[in-house]
Amino acid sequence: GGGGGAPAADAGQPVSGGSLIWGVETEPITFNPHQYAQAKARLLVGNTFEGLLTHDAEGGYTPRLATGYEVSADGKSYTFHLRGGVVFSDGTGFDAAAVKANADQLRAPGYAPAVAAVQLRNLSGVETPDPATVVYRLTRPDVLLLDFLASPQGAIVSPKSLREAPDLKAGGPALAGTGPFVLDRYSAGQEVHFTRNPRYWGERPAYLEQVTYRFLKESSVRVGALTSGQVQVIEGVPATDQALITADPRLRFTRALNSGSAYAYYLNVSHAPFDDVRVRKAFRDAVDVDTVLNAVYRGTATRAWSVLSPSGPFYDKSIEGGYGNDPVGANRLLDEAGWSTRDAEGFRTRDGKRLTVRLVQSAPFVRDRRDVLAQTVQAAVKRSAGIDLQVSLVDQGTATKALEDGAYEVFDNSRADTDAGAALNLLLHSQGAINRTGHRDRSLDRLLDQGQATGDAARRSAAYRQVQRKVVADDALVLPLYAPADQLAASRSVGGLGFEPTAGVPDRAYGVWVAR
């Protein structure tokens, strides 16, 4: 298990036994790893389920349920050697047939359409030459298969529970995995409880005997629960409370940047006014991102300069400081673009039409006070450039409708994919499933395809650097705002807490202990 954080002095040396209560922000929609869709649920899935691979700290892969793998020369077949002596918590054994059963299940109609259509798009079949070997055959080279196998969706579920679980898609106690803990109790809306898996295949079983995750949606409640000692660990500490926690001698605070893409505004180029690159640049440069972040996050946020999170291996540092916060330039660009008149409220107009751009946020998916952030940006672009940014916070149906109808000019998003390439593919590729910019650019597609076709880190990096420069600096397709981060706050008696190295989200509880 990839326990990241160094053991804290306060908690002393690891001890086995005891139990921990942990306040988490998000209640998972499902406990079935194949259906995983919420980054915030990752720490729960990892307790029970494991994939063939996992990420290492350098952005590469290390074996988990596999002992190793080979890639064929044409990049179209991947052979995995499986670990022996691993059993699922329901007592059935882990072998090649189980791996194949999972792959088949994932591609069964109606089971996991998003996985089948995106991550396994290029998979033609899985073969099991012997019980300890699995071969994945692809229709074309796709290194992202490895990322998939290290992701929660790629986790291996006991074939027995795939066949027998009553609410397979919802997961829960009926679903067995190979992880260090067993999910044995789930009270919806309240908490989920895990007990140690005594037959875990690793060098040792987990330290903790039991761990409970309580769903505390309100940040103030979460922090209150920690400070009043009702939970020992919380994740998702709002900016406003971070000072309070760091000042408390009984508590410890850590944070890590997430992998994947930064939180950014993607501009819709398919119609006016953002079909004009000058207006896009003006919008981008009208915002003093640092000041805005400071106001909203009180100095706790990490500014993003690129579409990718600075924590990842493909991040292009050279982009930093190269653009932005230039109200004078922004106003000049807008004048040039014909938005030179102003109306009574001080907004720019052209031909009597106000320079209005719309941002539609879907309420259920707003986190990190992104609604507040939007309001601050709104105020900033109004003040410095006379742009009318209209923000609406709506339900999912309305948001989807607005996106389908193209009734938006700004689309906000961040993705926590472990392989940043996956995020870029989805967001920027012409065929990307969540490409909302309406941008269709052959050269950009080519760069993205290059990045996905090879496993060579240097070549991928080069391709993705070009992508970042193009969409942020040159085309002003994206206004990056901040790098999403996860925070952990815990009582000092808790040791071994950390983040997953690549994903940057809180790690599973395998390496965690509580001092006596």
Binding site: T240, A295, S392
Partner: protein, 270 residues
């Protein structure tokens, strides 16, 4: 028998007057509610900012004053819908024959079977969050209350001596309804509506709290409360003060409404 209102009623009326002024001409009382000042975020109440500043450095007092328009307008619009529809349906049910009355009454029942919140949620999924959905939801949800009161009142008036007797003077049915029934049924409605307005404002604040109200950055009271509660620990004023204003408004509406109701009933021995 004219009695001067007590100090409570006078204070409430004065507060309402200020609230109405704030709704009508907020610029007389306060500055721009949207002026964000990132350098003065979450500052405590003081001479510069009477109610302190919020998470974006906006003046909470200015926002509360400007919010009066949104909150009162929502309450007023919702109450207007409820009263108009409720009175119409109530009078119809009160005058109708047994089956029509029964059908209408069941309709009111079905509406009451939705708690306000559920109704609001449904409405807002249709209309989208924002003022329209909020107004519609509260209007529809409070409609049965008026409808029932008016229906009962219509029953009473319809059977009152002056209505049955009026037939003896040779009036038509329509004339009877227009001259005797409607005016007597509608009498208590304005006062009811005034008390109902308080409830509507409260309901709007509740729904805004759940994020179903007017969109940011408009300074609606419930939304201010909801935004502010994240900062309760470090800046109580951002949520508590708007909350206090909501409470004061609703209390004032109720106090003045009840005072009028008592005077109204005092004059009318029925």
């Amino acid at each position: 028998m004219m009695r001067l209102p007590g100090p409570g009623v006078a204070a409430s009326a004065a507060f309402l007057a200020v609230a109405v002024l704030a709704a009508a001409r907020p610029s007389w009382l306060a500055a721009d509610p949207l002026a964000a000042d990132p350098l003065h975020v979450l500052e405590a109440p003081g001479a510069a900012h009477w109610f302190g500043t919020d998470q974006l450095g906006r003046d909470v007092f200015d926002r509360v004053v400007h919010g009066a328009r949104h909150s009162l307008a929502i309450g007023l619009a919702a109450t207007l819908i409820a009263v108009t529809a409720g009175v119409t349906l109530g009078v119809l049910a009160g005058l109708a024959h047994r089956y029509a009355d029964e059908a209408l009454t069941r309709g009111f029942d079905a509406l009451s079977a939705f708690p306000l919140l559920l109704l609001a949620l449904l409405f807002i999924t249709i209309a989208g969050p924002g003022t329209a959905g909020l107004v519609g939801a509260i209007g529809i949800a409070t409609l049965p209350h008026y409808a029932r009161v008016v229906r009962a009142q219509t029953f009473v008036v319809r059977r009152a001596g002056y209505v049955t007797g009026a037939v003896a003077y040779g009036g038509t049915r329509l004339r009877l309804v227009a001259r005797h029934v409607l005016p007597n049924v509608l009498g208590p409605v304005p006062v009811l509506a005034m008390i109902g307005l308080g409830e509507a404002v409260l309901a709007a604040a509740g729904l805004s709290f759940l994020g179903m109200g007017p969109q940011p950055p408009s300074p609606e009271w419930g939304a201010m409360l909801a935004d502010g509660r994240n900062y309760l620990r470090i800046a109580w004023w951002a949520s508590i003060l708007p909350g206090v204003v909501v409470t004061l408004t609703v209390v004032s509406l109720t106090v003045v409404g009840r005072h009028l109701q008592h005077r109204f009933e005092g004059r009318d021995p029925r």
